[in-house]
Structures are given as structure tokens and as C-alpha cells.
């Protein structure tokens, strides 16, 4: 029994000596998310029961979110399939805070996607805001200046009652944090599906830029070096965010399902983070940092144990030096708090004064809280007593690893057998036109301007393209024209039908998005969102998707540089669609030559690159028109995808394209509509030659296709380029007028399309 201090209500200090003397003391490990066998393992490691503080550290660090205990055995596939050739430009990869890619001229780029799903359901605004804040600190911790963000959002149906709470809250949170940080938002995804109704997905991407020599890695080496905690004060928010919140399933949905978990959600202050960014960059420039780690999930538990185990092995910490925002915090609370906007640096003793001066200039609070020691002890004191004495590796790296059972569910056969073959297809020009408009104005495919107009895209003045462009394009450095392109994508409907092929298609689409700008894809970051790993069917989806993605990356020769796994995305027994979101980074030699989104100028030719097959299973057409999901996803041939990307890059370098848009959800029909709407100009086109019926030609979602606009003088060059590399291509017609005229389809007025495409989200969200 714990005796509480009568005056303060604070339990007495559970010291290491006390733990050794009271082996029978019962501990609430199950409430902290640890299983019987995991608790037994901790006792075995320590040779005694853990103290309250040690138990808190192990419980957060051994959580699914931090330890990857269910995914580790599968994630090894990424390492196994990555060749030395693929690693050639990689300065840091999986296991670091974020992957870093050498892009030439002494510049490097670092990027990563991370999930903040569970907090965003409990408290959408703060959950999403701190999701952005967390990924930005990961990028800062590599020594980079964060330069842009993107976000992938998935919520329940647009007209579901809870969507009116979740989506506006999430969007305001992403916008609030990103806008106040001064990071342009380049775009991303907004997807509606019933499986996300009780478990929305908020995946945030951040990209940063650094000089190669400024690369910082998280390690604490140099015995005697000081550990400095700086940034916001540590408080009672986000306690157990990674364990009881992110690593468990919500109960049955409905009003208040997540309310009891509200105290586990962090609260963000973007102003504090903006100041912290500038402060860190000045510290890096001045050479005052040996190692650095951000404080995110698992807070100080994570930062101290990871820094120590990646360095010389030992560390002494004095919790009395930690600047707190609440009084009477226990050691366990201080160690597991996920208060935002904090960083932990390793600094040589002679640089501490200079370090503190920089922090003072930025009004950032900083305290020396400990130092690097030799040996294998992470020793933490509170009120002069030792409350933690553990081998740091056992906290940070030697967590449990599970080979969870996985099995293809019996229902998969029936799902794949339920194809679109029997669905009625439109035939008349009027029916076709009607369905094109129905798709363009459906929640799935309507304009996302309601969302993206709440995000600053201009700040810092380097944004050459942002949504609705397929890829964001950013100038890296004003003195050169070098740039990067970024896209994130996943069609989770395809992933449900075939998780392996779906993951490959997610990579293919992201690559295609980046290629549409003329950029060359070079690296991948992923955010793997799945249901409960304790369900063998979900574990099968995960294993298939990881293996599919790893092999696909190997086929394209671009490495996965890092990412994140989010399990337990389900409400009671209903899992979300398997959602492996794939982010791709591409390089642009000259941002002035990046291909614009949409149609080109009046008179330019419209070409379709790639081949169309009758592939309607899983399509937006099947979903919107027939509310159908079944069959097999489109074929994915990555060699064909790579050829198309090569044509786009070579063509862009020769100025062959005045506009481009990749074909994905909604097929050719939706690509034509979006080009017309986004460029506010019509076109007159025929359907691609072949045997396909008009519905298949318009709505099929075959991969590896791109709609491009070609100035008259460039058509012969493009034709020659396509012949050289064997790229199938067809001239469909010309840009111009104020009507989208598709042969065999009633003409569509562009102004009316603009309204139909724009009205859907506001009509529900502003109602």
C-alpha cells in the first residue's frame, strides 16, 4: 500500500533502495499498458522490482508506439531489401530521428512522416497540432531547418455527425501549428471512409534542409559532457500518450469514447516551438551541440535512455534541475510527461555558458540536468535519492519483440471474388457526363480548398507548387535553382482488396505525383496505419503491405529512409482500411523548369502517357456510383512506372510540357476535370484508342498514366522521346475554350464544373 503524504497528496519517493527492500510491493503495471510477462522481464533485468519511476520509463518505452514490438520482425524487410547502391546518397536512415539524403552541392534534405491518430480523435485540434509539432522537432533534431509540412488526413464519411467535430478540429490544429511556425503546407490528402469514423488518421510530414556538415545525430558521448534540457517547462500533459493512448484500441464508438483519455493528449504552443527552432539553428551554427534529441513520445524517458544507449552508455540525471510547470510532480510523471516544445542536448562543459547565452537571446529556458558517465548505468536522482538505476539499452532497445500470428482472413476470397464485372456501366453521352460530374462533386474527389485555404503555403517564399498540384515543389536555396518535390499517397481501398499490391500502388502513385513535376524520385518515408496487431487478419495485412512496399522500393531503387508504425487503429473489432501512407521525395535540378499542374495554354496538345486497361475494381467510380468495394486492384508494374517517371524528367528538362496531372482516383475523367477546373480552361479530346468501352476508358484506374499538355512545337520531340524508351502515348486533343468536350460525352461547362467541384465540402462543413 502506498501511503500518501497527508498534506500534499503526493506519494512518498519510491527509491531504488526502497524497491530492493520491498519486493512484494504491488505495482500497477497493467494499468500502464504492460503485460504480466513484460513486467516479469523488467524484474529479471533489474534483479528487483522496478521503482515507480523505472516502471513508468519501461511502460512508455516498451509500448507498441515506441518499441515497435509487433512490427519489428517485419520492418527488417526494409533493411534486407535496401542495397548499398540504394544507400549511396543516404547520410542517415531508419533508426535515426529522420532519414537524411545527400542532394548534392553540399546540401542534404531530411524528411519523415509520423502519425498522431489517437490524440486527434480524443482532441482533434490539439492532437493534430502536436502531431505537426512532433514531426517538426524530429527534423530539427537532425540539424536541419524545417522548411515545409504536408498532412494526410482520414476521417469518417463527410456527412457523419462526428466528422463535423473531427475534421474542422484537425484542420484548424494543423493550420494553427504550421501557420504559427511559419512552415508552408504543400498539401497532402483528405480521405473519407466509414472505417475512419471512430479512428481518424492524422499523418504529418515535415521536410528540412541542412548543409551536410551540420548533420546532427542523437548520441551522448564524451564522459563529463553536460545534458541540457531546453525549451518549454515540463508539465502534467500527455502523460502516457504513447502507451495507454497510442498503443490501445478505443472502445465502442459514440459520444465520448475517447474523453477519458483526454489527459494523455499533449497541448501545443507553436510560438514556443518557432523560437526553439531559431534557437537550435543558432546553436548548430555556433557549433555548441555534440548530440541532440527531441522530446516527443515518452518524453524524458525516451530522450535520456536513447541518448545514453547511443553514446558512451552511462548518464546521471537530476530531476530537481528540470524546469517544471506544475508543482509536486513525481519522478514518474516528470519522466513520462509529453509536454511539447522541449529538446535535450549534449554539450561540452566549456560550451555550456555560450549555449546558455544563445538560449537567453531567444528567451528559451535551459537547464543542465545531468552529465554523460561511463559504465552502463542511467542513474536518475530526485531530492538527492536515486529513483532510477537501469541499463539504458534495456529501456531504449531491448524491449519485447513479438512474432504475432498472422493469417489471410477467410473473407478475403469472397472480397476478391466480388468484382465490378456485374455493375451497370453508363453508355449514353448524357449518362457519362452525369457520372463524371457525380464523381467530381463526390466527397472523395471534390475540391479540398476548404481545407487547404486554412494553411499558409507562401511563407519563406520558396513554394513553387502546392496543392492542388500532385506534388509540392520547393526551392532549396535561393542562390541555386535546385529544388525538391514531395508527395504523399495511399489508396487504402486497393490495400483492403490486396494489401501487398495496394502498398506497391501507394508507392507507384506517390512516385507518379512527384514525377508529374519533372522531379526524379530519390527516397521514401512511410507511415503504416493499421488495426490491432493482436488480430491475425490485421497482422497479415501489415506483413503483406510491408513486404510489398520493401520489394517495390528495391525494384525502383529508392530506399525507405524512415517512418512510423501506428497500430490499434480500430473501434472495438472494426479495423480501419489498411493504410500504408507512402511519402516520396524527388529532386528538381531547376525549379523554373518544374512542370506546372493542370492544362497548358490554349492550343497546346493534350496527350495521355501510359496504357488503360479495364480496371474498375476498387475504383472511385465503383465506390461513388455503386457503393461497391471488391475485386482486385489495378496491376502495378514498377518498371513501367519508372519509365513514365523517366519520360517526365527528361521531357521537363527539355521543356516539352506546359502542364501535367497524374491519373489516379477517378481515372481519366477526373484528371481531365481537375485540369480544366484548376487551370480554368476547357479542352476538346477523344478517348484513347482501343477496345475499351467509354466507361472503362474514362473511369478505369490503371496505374502508370499521366495527362500532359504539350506546346505545338514540342510534340515531335515528345513523340520521339516516347518511341526511344517504349512509352505508350496517345494524342487526345487540344486545350482551349470554356467547355470540356470529350468525344461521346455531353459537353461539360468549365464554370459549372468549378462550382460543382468546389461546393461539396463547404455545403456540409459550413452548414
Amino acid at each position: 500500500m502506498t501511503v500518501q503524504d497527508q498534506a500534499t497528496g503526493i506519494p512518498p519517493l519510491d527509491t531504488v533502495a526502497n524497491a530492493a527492500a520491498t519486493p512484494e510491493h504491488e505495482q500497477p503495471y497493467a494499468a500502464l499498458g504492460l503485460r504480466d510477462e513484460e513486467y516479469a522481464r523488467i524484474r529479471e533485468i533489474l534483479g528487483r522490482r522496478p521503482t515507480d519511476a523505472e516502471l513508468a520509463m519501461y511502460s512508455v518505452m516498451w509500448s507498441e508506439h515506441c518499441s515497435y514490438k509487433s512490427s519489428k520482425v517485419h520492418l527488417r524487410r526494409f533493411g534486407e531489401t535496401t542495397t548499398d547502391e540504394m544507400r549511396r546518397h543516404l547520410l542517415a536512415g531508419i533508426g535515426e530521428n529522420a532519414g537524411v539524403i545527400d542532394v548534392g552541392d553540399g546540401w542534404a534534405v531530411t524528411f519523415k512522416i509520423e502519425s498522431h491518430n489517437h490524440p486527434s480523435y480524443v482532441e482533434p485540434h490539439q492532437g493534430a497540432a502536436t502531431g505537426v509539432g512532433g514531426i517538426v522537432r524530429d527534423i530539427m533534431a537532425m540539424g536541419a531547418r524545417p522548411v515545409a509540412v504536408m498532412d494526410g488526413l482520414r476521417v469518417g464519411p463527410l456527412d457523419a455527425p462526428d466528422t463535423a467535430r473531427v475534421l474542422p478540429g484537425v484542420v484548424s490544429g494543423v493550420g494553427f501549428y504550421g501557420n504559427c511556425l511559419g512552415l508552408p503546407n504543400l498539401g497532402g490528402e483528405v480521405v473519407f471512409d466509414p472505417t475512419y469514423a471512430g479512428n481518424p488518421l492524422v499523418n504529418a510530414l515535415c521536410v528540412g534542409v541542412l548543409r551536410v556538415e551540420d548533420l546532427h545525430l542523437a548520441f551522448a558521448s564524451g564522459v563529463g559532457n553536460k545534458i541540457v534540457l531546453f525549451g518549454a517547462r515540463t508539465g502534467l500533459d500527455g502523460i502516457g500518450g504513447v502507451s495507454v493512448l497510442a498503443s490501445e484500441t478505443f472502445g465502442e464508438g459514440g459520444e465520448g469514447a475517447g474523453r477519458r483519455k483526454l489527459p494523455s493528449v499533449q497541448v501545443g504552443d507553436p510560438f514556443a516551438e518557432k523560437v526553439l527552432i531559431e534557437c537550435c539553428l543558432e546553436l548548430y551554427r555556433a557549433g555548441l551541440v555534440v548530440g541532440i534529441q527531441d522530446l516527443g513520445g515518452a518524453g524524458l524517458s525516451c530522450a535520456t535512455s536513447e541518448l545514453a544507449s547511443a553514446g558512451d552508455g552511462g548518464m546521471e540525471i537530476d530531476l530537481d534541475q528540470v524546469h517544471l510547470r506544475a508543482t509536486g510532480m513525481t519522478p514518474a510523471e516528470i519522466l513520462s510527461s509529453e509536454s511539447q516544445e522541449r529538446m535535450c542536448a549534449v554539450v561540452t562543459p566549456e560550451n555550456v555558458d555560450a549555449f546558455m547565452a544563445v538560449c537567453e537571446r531567444w528567451d528559451v529556458t535551459a537547464r543542465v540536468i545531468g552529465e554523460v558517465t561511463d559504465g552502463e548505468h542511467l542513474r536518475i536522482r530526485s531530492a538527492g535519492e536515486v529513483v532510477v538505476d537501469v541499463p539504458p539499452r534495456t529501456v531504449a532497445h531491448d524491449g519485447p519483440v513479438y512474432s504475432r500470428p498472422y493469417a489471410r482472413p477467410d473473407s478475403q476470397d469472397a472480397l476478391q471474388a466480388s468484382t465490378t464485372a456485374g455493375l451497370a456501366r453508363p453508355g449514353t453521352p448524357a449518362e457519362l457526363a452525369e457520372q463524371i460530374v457525380a464523381l467530381a462533386s463526390s466527397p472523395q474527389l471534390a475540391s479540398r480548398a476548404w481545407v487547404t485555404e486554412q494553411y499558409d503555403r507562401y511563407v519563406r517564399g520558396n513554394t513553387a507548387a502546392a496543392t492542388p498540384a500532385d506534388a509540392g515543389v520547393l526551392r532549396l536555396d535561393e542562390s541555386s535553382d535546385r529544388g525538391i518535390a514531395l508527395a504523399i499517397d495511399c489508396n487504402a481501398r486497393f490495400c483492403l482488396l490486396d494489401p501487398r499490391e495496394g502498398a506497391r500502388l501507394a508507392l507507384a502513385e506517390s512516385v507518379r505525383n512527384v514525377a508529374s513535376s519533372g522531379a526524379r524520385p530519390v527516397a521514401v518515408s512511410d507511415c503504416l496505419n493499421f488495426g490491432s496487431p493482436e488480430d491475425p487478419a490485421v497482422m497479415w495485412q501489415f506483413a503483406e503491405a510491408v513486404d510489398g512496399l520493401a520489394q517495390a522500393c528495391a525494384e525502383l531503387g529508392i530506399p525507405v529512409t524512415g517512418g512510423n508504425v501506428s497500430f490499434y487503429n480500430q473501434t472495438a473489432t472494426t479495423a480501419i482500411l489498411p493504410t500504408p501512407v507512402v511519402g516520396v521525395l524527388g529532386l528538381v535540378d531547376d525549379v523554373h523548369r518544374a512542370v506546372p499542374h493542370g492544362f497548358g495554354a490554349p492550343g497546346d496538345a493534350v496527350w495521355l502517357l501510359g496504357e488503360t486497361a479495364d480496371e474498375l475494381d476498387g475504383s472511385a467510380w465503383a465506390g461513388v456510383v455503386h457503393d461497391h468495394l471488391g475485386g482486385r486492384p489495378p496491376r502495378c508494374d514498377l518498371a513501367v512506372e519508372a519509365r513514365l517517371a523517366g519520360v517526365m524528367a527528361d521531357g521537363a528538362a527539355r521543356d516539352l510540357f506546359s502542364g501535367a496531372h497524374d491519373l489516379s482516383d477517378g481515372g481519366l475523367a477526373q484528371a481531365l476535370v481537375e485540369c480544366a477546373v484548376d487551370s480554368r480552361i476547357g479542352a476538346a479530346v477523344t478517348l484513347p484508342p482501343g477496345e475499351l468501352d467509354p466507361a472503362a476508358a474514362l473511369f478505369s484506374e490503371s496505374a502508370a498514366r499521366m495527362l500532359v499538355s504539350v506546346p505545338a512545337g514540342a510534340e515531335a520531340d515528345l513523340a520521339r522521346l516516347c518511341v526511344e524508351v517504349g512509352q505508350p502515348a496517345a494524342r487526345l486533343g487540344e486545350v482551349g475554350g470554356d467547355v470540356l468536350a470529350i468525344a461521346g460525352v455531353d459537353p461539360l461547362d468549365v464554370a459549372e464544373l468549378v462550382i460543382a467541384h468546389a461546393a461539396t465540402l463547404p455545403s456540409v462543413l459550413d452548414a
Binding site: 511559419g182 486554412q454 494553411y455 507562401y458 517564399g461 520558396n462 526551392r475
Partner: protein, 225 residues
Amino acid sequence: MTARIGVITFPGTLDDVDAARAVRYAGAEAVSLWHRDTDLQGVDAVVVPGGFSYGDYLRAGAIAARSPVMGPVVDAARRGMPVLGICNGFQILCEAGLLPGALVRNTGLRFICREIRLRVEADTAWTSGFEVGSAITVPLKSGEGRFVADAETLDRLEGEGRVVFRYAEPAPNGALRDIAGVCSTDGRVVGLMPHPEHAIDPLTGPGADGLGLFTSVLGRLTAAA
């Protein structure tokens, strides 16, 4: 001699790099000023850029208006030094008493980021290069951009020709009388909510219309020299 234009950075300022770039594109030297500075280093004009100075705590612009650097800025402005406040900078100039009115939450209660057309309605130190009546396209990006003042003040601003920019379409933030920007009685201090510094290069903005504000002030400085 090249004109020197100060660009202030407060903690939480975001568009200082953009403002400095605009100053350079216009052909002047950009001089960084820090919020704790009490000396303007002899600059010829000052830009107070956008962002969320001091986290917009208390009220947007309220703390920045009382920061050390604003003392000399207000003094210099009263003596005729040109000052341009953009977005949060406009809020700061209102809070500092250099410009009338106030900026409050958008009527839709949401942050708005979009390209917008503005009508130039007054000849000031920062708009002398434009024809009065011409239209420019620049980004608007703010959550608290709704210009308000009492009717008497609005009448006076209109009567004295001190409405510098007006939204060419109904103001998306609900600004009274569609006012996007105003100036001091001498036309040397200008504040506006939209962002001319984000429209200086078609590569990264809607066009280059915004550069005109920065070249305008250079023209005035050169003429005065």
C-alpha cells in the same frame, strides 16, 4: 547610395525572410533589426513583417507594439520615415497608435489563405509607383484580418483619402467597407493585411505585383535625397 530598409524580427515573426527578399529584389539593402534593439542603425525606412509576434499572446500585435525596437520606430515615423506594416505588422502599427482602427477575427472564424485582388486607392510613400485605381493580386493569409473602426473614423479615412487598398471583391474576412490597408495622415506609414512580399516573383507567388510597394518607397527615398 543604396537605400537601407530595416526589417524587424520579433520572436514569432515569420515573414521577415520574405520581406528582406522583397527589399533586395527592389534594389535596396535589407537591414535586420531585432526586437530588443533600441537603435535603428540609420535605416531609411522600416518594414514590420507578418507572423505571430510573441505568439499573438494577449492580442495580436499588442506586445510587439510595446517592445524596445518600436520606440524608435514610432519616433522616426512621426518625423516622416516610411514604415510598412504587413499582416501582423499592420496589427502592430495599429496597436502602436501609428494607424487607426483594429484587426479582429475573420467573420468566418477561420484562417484564410488565398490569392486576392486589391484596388490601389491612394498615392502614398509605398504606392507611388501604382496608378490610383489599378488592381494588384497578392496573397491574403490571416485569421485576424478583419479591419474595423467606428463609422466616424471610417468616414474620415475615406474622406482624407487614407484607404490605400480595398478588396476588389467582397472582403473574405468581413473587413468593414472592404478595407485591406490604410495609411497615416502624411501617407508615409502604411499597413495592409495581404502580403505584397509574397508576390514578387511568379515562381513563388501569384505574380510580381507586390514588388511595386518596395520600389515605390525607393523612388520616394531617392527623390527626397
